[in-house]
Structures are given as C-alpha cells and as structure tokens.
Amino acid sequence: MSQAGPEERESGPAAAGPAAAGAAGVSRRRMLGFSGASLLVGAAAGAGLDHVASAAEKREPAGAAVAFHGPHQAGIATPVQDRLHFAAFDVITDDRAKLVRMLKEWTAAAAAMTAGRPVGQGAVGGPAVAPPDDTGEAEGLPPSRLTLTIGFGATLFEKDGKDRFGLKARRPPALVDLPHFPGDRLDPDRGGGDIAVQACADDPQVAVHAVRNLARIGFGVVAVRWSQLGFGKTSSTTPDAQTPRNLFGFKDGTENIAGTEAGPLGAHVWAAGGDGSDWMAGGSYLVARRIRMHIETWDRTSLREQQDVFGRDKGEGAPAGGAKERDKVVLARLKPDAHVRLAHPDSNGGARILRRGYSFTDGSDGLGRLEAGLFFIAFQRDPRTGFIKIQQSLATDALNEYIQHVGSGVYACPPGVRQGGHWGDTLFT
C-alpha cells in the first residue's frame, strides 16, 4: 500500500508574478539599508547627540524602517506615525516559562516586522501543507516606520490577589491604578489588560498586520482583551511640524515634548533607575484613555464657544491673544476653564507628558451618532506626577461637556531591547 501525502506548491502567473517578486526583492534590500542607517541614528540619539538625530529624522523617508533595538523602546520619542493599532492582552496561562518563551517569540517577530521582513519563514516560504508563518497582508509593503511598543499592566504583577508569575514584588510604585476622575464612565471590556502593544505605522495595513501576527503567535499564552484602531494622529513629537487636528477640528497638545528634546525626555518621559524600579530604567509609563467625543453636540456649538473651550483659535491654532500656533501661551488671556489653560504645565507645577494619541471612528453607536473620539496615549516618567496630576486639573475643563472617558489602561513600558535581548528581559530576570 502506498499512502499519499500530496502537497502543492504553485508557481507561474497564477501565483505571484515575477515582476512583483522582483520588485519586492529590491525594496527588501533597500529596506535593510535604511534599517542599518536607523540603527546608527538610534545609537546616536541614545548618546544624547540631539542635533544628529534631528537631522536624521528629516532624512528618514516615509516608508523606511525605525530601529527596533536601542536604549529606549521605539514608538515613544519616535516621530508620530499616521496610524495606530493598539491591543491589550490577558495572559491566560499561569506558566511563567511559557510567558517568557512567548515574549522571546514576540521580540523576534517584532524585530522582523519593524524591519519590513515577514515573520518566521514568511508568507510563502514555508512548506505548502503547513499554514504560513506570516499572515501575508504586508507582503511587498515597505516597513512604513512601524514601531511596536510593549507595556505591562498592573494585573500582570498581581491579579485577584494572585501573584501568578512571581512578579508582585517587582511592580513599580509608579504603576498605579488610576483614581476615578469625575465624568469617567469606564467600560471594563475596553480597558486594562496584562500586556499592551502599541503598533504605529504610516500604513494601517502594516500596523494591523503586526498586531494580528503577534496575537497569533500568542494564542494559548495570551488572548486579546480589547483593541483599538486609530486612523489619524493628533499629536506631533517633531517640533517644527504642525500639530495635527483632532476630531473637534482643533490643534491640541502643541506644548508636547518633542522626540529630540533630550532634556525634557529625561525629566518627564524616561523612568530612571532611582525612581523606585530598577528594571524600568530607560522605560516609560503609558496611559491610554478611550475618550468618546460628543461630535454632534460639538458641531452645534458656536465658533466662539469652541475657541473659548480650547483657548486656541480654530484656524491657526494660536493661543488666545496670539497669532501663530507656537506663540507663547499667556494663561491669563485664556478663560479659567479653557482646556489649554488647565492642561498647561504652568497650571500643573511644570508637569509634562508626551502625547501620542490618535483619532478613532468605530462606525456609529446605534443612536445615529458617530462612535468617535480620541484614543489618548501619553508617555511619562511617572503617571502620578504626569497624567493623574493633569487630569485632576481638568476636572473643571469646559471640554468635559463634549467628551467622556470610556476606556482606560496604564502600562509600564520597559526599556528598549538590546541586541540578543527580549521584551521584558529586565523584568523577568
């Protein structure tokens, strides 16, 4: 008796055309060149040579690769990409070794994908009888400045009183549970999670591909708890760029920390070893808030009130009394409950955060209204002196009438991965 094990491998015009294959091959090689260059840039930035980094950022083409390895994770100080796919995962095993193994697999996949390479043997390179390692929808696309940034939620350290992974003692003091802020209406199914991954890219397909492949690798160890797509950036970490408008039509967050400002980054964004958690040195804390915007009522609001609410003019984005977006904000010229006034560092004892939020629209809400808003993301050295402090000031914000916080998460993002290291290696030692 013979037994058949037929497997198929197709070639010819029905599969990939030679022209497409050739083009992909060329762009792959080019990408490698880019990522090599970025690696050097990353090292320089890490050494604090700001002017070098700044010059290099301007040279970085839209589709290029952002270095994965470095002292800090990419996706924080990196110039903001156009699109977001943010996913939060629950760890569904109690087996620490399995979790670490998955983090290593994730790291390898993340390093490949951010360099524009597929996962494992790729989408078509493996045996025909097996499902491909890579899901394939990013084949032929450039790296698109993809960054993948990982963070660990408080529940990874302790969940329902259980220390599942022996990490309880390593929970950083700064990884606090956020207090209830007035007006919060948080949906537990849209918040929290043991692990979060922020995927940012200039091409949405590249960002979605990255999260999808990480989720697939993680099956059995983690399960997606919730995720959020963001279609348009609302922040700039590049000082000479205009701040992108949010869905209210305003430029908000002009005073953002730039990715090239080593001083403010060190003071307000990067955690230091002496902050209370050694393994977080070089890392940062991510606060995510899903902020629903009451689009329809806002649109019925007069221009004057809209401008008063923000404290900026709608056309230029200039602060009240100013002419240009980046003119100095004079707090006294703004209404006492203006958003910019209350969020400004001068109103918060100098507190600053690095904002990296995205607009979202998840269709409509069943009541004929847009299910839309801002997926707010902020990085900071310590949420207690960053987001929490500022958010408490915003209790009287005139903008609150038009927004509602409906999802929330806080995650400790470890430092960047060294060559040969893996995500979370400073934590799981």
Binding site: Q3, S11, P13, I92
Partner: protein, 379 residues
C-alpha cells in the same frame, strides 16, 4: 488549431515561468525533500513524463500545462483508483505537486478540460521510501478509516431512534435524541464533507441557504427547527426518512475511500477546530436547539482521535508541538467539562459572554498548534 492570441499568451507565460524557476530553484528543491522534480508536460492531447522509473518516497511532479485548456493531473494506483490529483492547472501555468509513492506501477493522467479522462503514462516505482514513518502513517490511516466507519454506524443507529420519535410526533423524545444522533457525524465531519452532494442534504443550516435552496432544504437542522421553533414535527416524517437514506449513502461510500494522513487526517483535525471556532463558539450551528456544546465536544473528540493516531510520528518529528497539543486538548476538555449537564451539556443560550470568550480563547489556543500538525507529519 489554437487561436493565435492564446499562443502568444502561452509563450509569455512560459517565459515568466522560466524566470520564476530561475529565482526559486532552491525553494523548489526543498519542497521535493531534496529530490529533483519530475517534469510533466501536459498539452491538450498528451501527457509526457520526463522520467518513468522512480524511486519510492516523496516525489515532486512539476506539471506544466502547455495546452490551451485547463488541465487536471492525476496519479492512479495499480487498481485504477485515484491516489492523488491536482485540478485547475491553467494554460501556461505550472504546479509543483508532491505525492508519496510506494513501490508499484502507477499511471499518471492529464485531463485537458478536466473531464477525468485523457492520455496516460505508466510509471514504475521501486525500492523503499527513506525514513521509518511511512508504515506508522499507513497504519494510522487504516485505523482512522475504521474510526470513521464506526462513527457513521453510530450516527445511523442513533438517528434511527431519533427518526422513530419524529415519526411518532413525540416532540419531547425527539428533542432528547436530536443532539446525540449528530455526535458521530460531528466527530468525523470533514470526511463527510468530502461528499459535496451529501453534506448539504444532511447538515445544511437554514441561514446558509439561498432562497431557491431553501425550498429544497432537508436534513437534521430542518427537523431541529420544526422541533424547537414550531414545536411539532407533524408532516415532517419524510425528512426523517430522507436523512436516514442520505446517511446510508454516506456509509456505502466509505469502503472505497482513501484517507491520507496529511490532508484528510491532519487537515481534517484542523478543519474540526475551524468548525468549532466559526460555528459552535458563536452558537450558529444549533440556532434553535442550542445544543452547540454537544457538537463542540464531538468536533474536539474527532480532532483528538486523529492527533492520537498520528502522535507517535508527531512526537518524533516535533516533540514541542506534541506537548503543546496535549496541553491544549486537556485545557479545552477541562473547560467543556464545566458545562456538562447529565449526559450532555447545558444549552448554549445559558453560556454567558465571559464563558464564551474563555471557550473562544481555548479554541484559538488549540487551533493554532493543530494547524501545524499537517506540516509536522509531512516533514
């Protein structure tokens, strides 16, 4: 005579094919497990094999269709039955087709126009296949076939009881017997689905039918709807009898069936989990009776049986995968056990969102390694 435009097209396609093979030469060699591919040139009236004396083992045929019609390539066993086939090879395209051959004489057939008929060539295979896995896989395939037959028998026995209750219009009893009658079927579902004419007659769901198809709807789910939605099976007796007839046809076809360890077994196990993921976790399969968890368990049992039959080979070729599968089968079974009630399971309607999410996560956790079974077995 072929019209000129086709000739021109074919010429271009052949040219691009040679470009492709120039780039992908190494990969092709890998696909054939180190052996060079055997070229087959199929035209509208010929089937030329480059080599007719072959060693036993994994063989790659590189079938190039240089004719004008869509072609089909078949390898026929000495008894004339199809060992393996590859359809839809378009004009000007080329397909690599891997098949494991034991010693013996075979015929290869190219069927231009895919009629199942066409010119053949004899090939002779001699020697022993490299690697010791073949005998174990042959035995696994034989054992699986016996398992399939036993499950179809079981389904027929229990469906007779179910149909008897339908015939008596005993709604309560028929409801009780409905889910158990489907267990054998659900356990071997991918094999049953190979018979494309029978599967829709036996197991079609109302929501999947077009308006025209709905007029001719038969099978289990029609009776399910009558029992649970209408609360009566009066006048539905003919559907019970038809269901039994269709199951008998299924049974009659099993002896002639060749099941291979890679596609039918490992591939079937993956399909069983796909069934769970897309039909059962969502509660779509049993839209009226909500007995989805009974089907869920049967699908998982069927996949597990396949895995157990292939396990000696899997352990040798990919021990880590075997460990993953053991663990995740156990996890799914444990989770399912939480919903047991009497001899069966609770109504899926009573399973809340959080529990459904847990089941879904467990199915993803098992489905992912299970999708790697075919690759491991054919290594």
């Amino acid at each position: 005579m072929r019209p000129a435009p086709v000739l021109a097209l074919t010429g271009a396609a052949v040219l691009s094919m040679s470009l492709l093979s120039a780039c992908g030469g190494e990969k092709d060699a890998e696909g054939a497990a180190g052996a060079a591919a055997i070229g087959v040139t199929a035209t509208d009236d010929a089937c030329e094999v480059a080599k007719k004396e072959l060693p036993a083992g994994k063989t790659t045929f590189k079938v190039a269709n240089k004719g004008s019609k869509v072609n089909e390539f078949e390898v026929l066993k000495p008894d004339g039955k199809i060992l393996a086939e590859r359809e839809n090879i378009g004009p000007g395209t080329s397909v690599d087709f891997v098949v494991s051959l034991a010693a013996g004489t075979y015929k290869v057939l190219c069927s231009a126009g895919q009629t199942g008929k066409g010119p053949t060539q004899d090939i002779t295979v001699s020697g022993q296949a490299a690697g010791g896995g073949d005998q174990r896989l042959t035995k696994a395939a034989a054992d699986y076939k016996a398992f399939v037959i036993a499950n179809v028998d079981d389904t027929i026995t229990k469906t007779k009881q179910f149909v008897a209750a339908v015939n008596e219009n005993d709604v309560a009893k028929a409801k009780e017997l409905y889910a158990p009658s489907r267990v054998g079927w659900e356990t071997i579902e991918p094999v049953a689905e190979k018979f494309g004419d029978l599967d829709p007659k036996i197991d079609a769901r109302e929501a999947d039918l077009s308006a025209e198809e709905k007029a001719g709807w038969t099978g289990w789910h029609l009776l399910e709807k009558a029992l649970w939605k209408d609360g009566s099976v009066k006048g539905e007796q003919k559907f019970g009898e038809q269901l039994l007839k269709d199951l008998d046809v299924l049974k009659s076809r099993l002896p002639g069936l060749t099941l291979d360890p890679v596609n039918d077994m490992a591939g079937g196990a993956k399909e069983l989990l796909d069934e769970v993921a897309t039909g059962k976790v969502t509660g779509e399969e049993e839209a009226f009776s909500h007995t989805d968890l009974v089907d869920f368990k049967a699908n998982v049992d069927g996949a597990k049986k396949i895995y157990e039959l292939l396990k000696p080979v899997v352990q040798e070729k990919d021990a880590a995968l075997a460990g993953d599968l053991d663990e995740n089968f156990a996890a799914v079974e444990k989770l399912l056990a939480e919903h047991e009630k009497g001899d069966g399971y609770v109504s899926y309607e009573t399973v809340g969102k959080a529990d459904r999410k847990k089941l879904g996560d467990a199915v993803n956790a098992l489905g992912e390694p299970l999708s790697k079974l075919a690759g491991a077995v054919s290594k």
